[in-house]
């Protein structure tokens, strides 16, 4: 008998938890940067199309798979997918739905701990009176475990442990009393903080408080459509990728949350409500904060340069300084709101990452909720420490790439094929519309069967064989040279090896050699974790056979 007797408290709570699972740091840090880099306002067209033909179908697929598995007492993907396909190997594809969460949580909780730490530093006024270089140096010093301004040895590790303890404790309280309660508080606060900062972001006036541009300059930069870019496969690939990551599909968390919904209750409307809530946070709030404020105070050229390394730099190295242009009190309040909203975005996602592992241990090995939650905390701590200690050697980026990027696409591709072609579209469709509180458009039967798997296949192949510089025209006409960002060249460490070959400074050579070592070591570690989880799934399967449950 499974020890899993969890339930959701309310429908709104479930939707807020599911929206919280989807809303993450990427809504505020990744989306605006992707939009700026991929055609500005024109990016929104492929983005919304991908949401309609890939995002919504995947949400419905995952919600219905989860609810279907829940009928048989399964709350994690290995045995949810096992009930849907006759081939016994499917459960090993389902291992991705646990592995991804543990590996992503390992580094994600580290960023989450930065936000917690920055809330604290905003409250005590650490950034007050600092110039931009000092704020930037603070971040570099912080992530390289340098001198702490609080005098706490290894301050980032202390905050990381606090963050993990908080996550673990909330998870140990259960679904309704823990995860749902945090979502009910965190999501409204996140939206409230976001609305305040968005208001500040769109009301900047050049010449006031040190601003060099009006908000309109930043908004023009973000929203002016460059329609020529619409024909670029790179832009479409970026849009599909953004939809993918923002909805937290391909992870196994949606399945897990939905597995606690009874078969007579709606999932179609729930999925739409949570999905559009995520879009609101991403497009409306995410688009009105980072870029308009940064451009207002730093100018287009500086921001263009900064976004090359992603949104993290702007969020942690620039915004704390820019907020103080509004005065000491408003600067501190805005810092608390900005890092507070990032913290709520982070924790509602990291809590979701804990639930598949907990559900698996409860279902298969009869663990109690509390023990399973603490085992998650310990697992994440052990796997996450390399990302903290060897951050500068790219361990963090390796986790993000393999667990937080490639694995999602692989799992989503498999699950879309399983759902539409192995389980069968007719049965799958019945699962989606069963108990539905909305009329699901019939066209989605066709989209889920053909368009979504093909799009996912294209995203996967496009990432596997990305042509140099994203020049698909040259690649298709015969000279297909792989870009260093392609999965194949990543696997071969081409970029690092090229840098190593051209380096002459002994210190740089040593740094690159160390990086190469840590990159390979991270991959071996992640692979070992996957194999260990697959072994656990095998043991669970054998146990089920012994107990006559299969």
């Amino acid at each position: 008998m499974s020890a899993n007797k969890e339930s959701w408290g309310s429908r709104v709570g479930l939707i807020l938890a599911m929206a919280g699972n989807a809303v993450g740091l990427g809504n505020f840090l990744r989306f605006p940067v992707q939009a700026v880099q991929n055609g500005g306002g024109a990016f929104i067209i492929p983005y919304l199309i991908c949401f309609l033909v890939m995002g919504i179908p995947l949400l419905w697929i995952e919600w219905s798979m989860g609810r279907f598995g829940g009928k048989f007492g399964h709350h994690s993907t290995p045995f949810i997918v096992d009930t849907m396909g006759k081939n016994r190997l499917w459960k090993y594809i389902g291992v991705f739905g646990i592995w991804t969460n543990i590996a992503v949580a390992a580094y994600y909780c580290y960023i989450e701990s930065w936000t917690l730490s920055y809330v604290f530093h905003s409250v005590i006024g650490t950034f007050s009176g600092m110039d931009q270089d000092a704020v930037s140096s603070f971040f570099v010093e912080y992530t390289s475990l340098g001198i702490s301004t609080l005098g706490i040895p290894y301050e980032p590790i202390v905050f990381y442990v606090i963050c993990l303890l908080l996550n673990t404790w909330i998870l140990s309280q259960g679904l309704a009393a823990g995860v749902e309660r945090v979502a009910k508080v965190g999501m409204p606060l996140l939206i409230l903080f976001g609305l305040f900062l968005a208001f500040k972001g769109v009301t900047i006036t050049a010449g006031e408080n040190g601003a060099i541009n009006d908000s309109s300059v930043g908004l023009n930069f973000l929203w002016t459509p460059n329609f020529d870019q619409l024909w670029s496969p790179t832009v479409w690939l970026a849009a599909a990728g953004q939809i993918f990551f923002t909805l937290s599909v391909g992870m196994g968390t949606v399945h897990c949350y939905a597995s606690y919904v009874r078969s007579k209750d709606d999932i179609a409307l729930n999925a739409m409500s949570a999905g559009w809530m995520n879009e609101f946070v991403e497009v409306v709030l995410g688009g009105a904060i980072l870029i308009p404020i940064s451009i207002g105070y730093l100018g287009i050229d500086r921001v263009t340069e900064l976004v090359q390394s992603g949104g993290l730099g702007l969020a942690f190295r620039s915004l704390p300084y820019l907020f103080y242009q509004w005065g000491d009190i408003l600067g501190a309040v805005s810092g608390v709101m900005w890092f507070g909203l990032l913290f709520f975005a982070g924790i509602t996602s990291s809590l979701a990452m804990g639930t598949p592992w907990i559900g698996f241990l409860q279902d298969e090995f009869n663990w109690k909720r509390k023990s399973a939650a603490w085992s998650f905390g310990l697992f994440v701590f052990l796997l996450g420490m390399p990302t903290v200690l060897f951050f500068k050697y790219g361990v963090f980026d390796e986790y993000d790439y393999w667990a937080g990027t490639v694995s999602l696409v692989v799992f989503a591709l498999f699950e879309s094929i399983l759902f539409a072609w192995v389980f069968g579209m007719d049965k799958g469709w019945r699962e989606i519309i069963s108990g539905s509180d909305i009329n699901v458009p019939g066209i989605y039967k066709f989209i889920i069967k053909f368009i979504t798997p093909l799009l996912l296949l294209w995203v996967f192949l496009g990432s596997l064989f990305t042509p140099k510089g994203g020049d698909w025209g040259a690649a298709i006409s015969g000279t297909w040279v792989l870009d260093n960002s392609s999965i194949i060249n990543k696997l071969k460490n081409t970029d690092l090896k090229e840098k190593l070959a051209s380096a002459t400074d002994p210190a740089l050579i040593e740094q690159l050699q160390d990086t190469l070592f840590f990159v390979n070591a991270s991959r071996i570690l992640l692979l070992a974790v996957w194999v260990a989880l697959a072994l656990l799934v095998y043991m669970a399967y054998k146990k089920r056979v012994r107990e006559g449950r299969i």
Binding site: S7, W8, G9, S10, R11, V12, G13, L14, I15, G40, G41, A42, I44, L48, A176, S216, L219, N220, L222, W223, T224, P225, Y260, V261, R262, K264, D265, D266, L269, N270, M272, S273, W276, M277, E279, F280, V283, V284, G287, G435, D437, I438
Partner: protein, 53 residues
């Protein structure tokens, strides 16, 4: 702001906000199913019990 940026921005924000509110209100206004349902907070509400259960 230039006109094209303004049109794209307002259309997108309007569309996304409308759909977010529309679906959330639909959730709020849809009457819950009789017990036993998936949610425990309303388990004890007398008017939602099915006779014989």
């Amino acid at each position: 702001m230039n006109t094209s940026a303004l049109i794209v921005m307002l259309t997108t924000i309007g569309l996304v906000t409308f759909l977010m509110i529309y679906f959330f209100m639909k959730v709020i206004n849809t009457p819950p199913r009789p017990e036993p349902d998936s949610y425990i907070d309303n388990d004890d509400e007398a008017d939602r019990q099915v006779p014989g259960h």
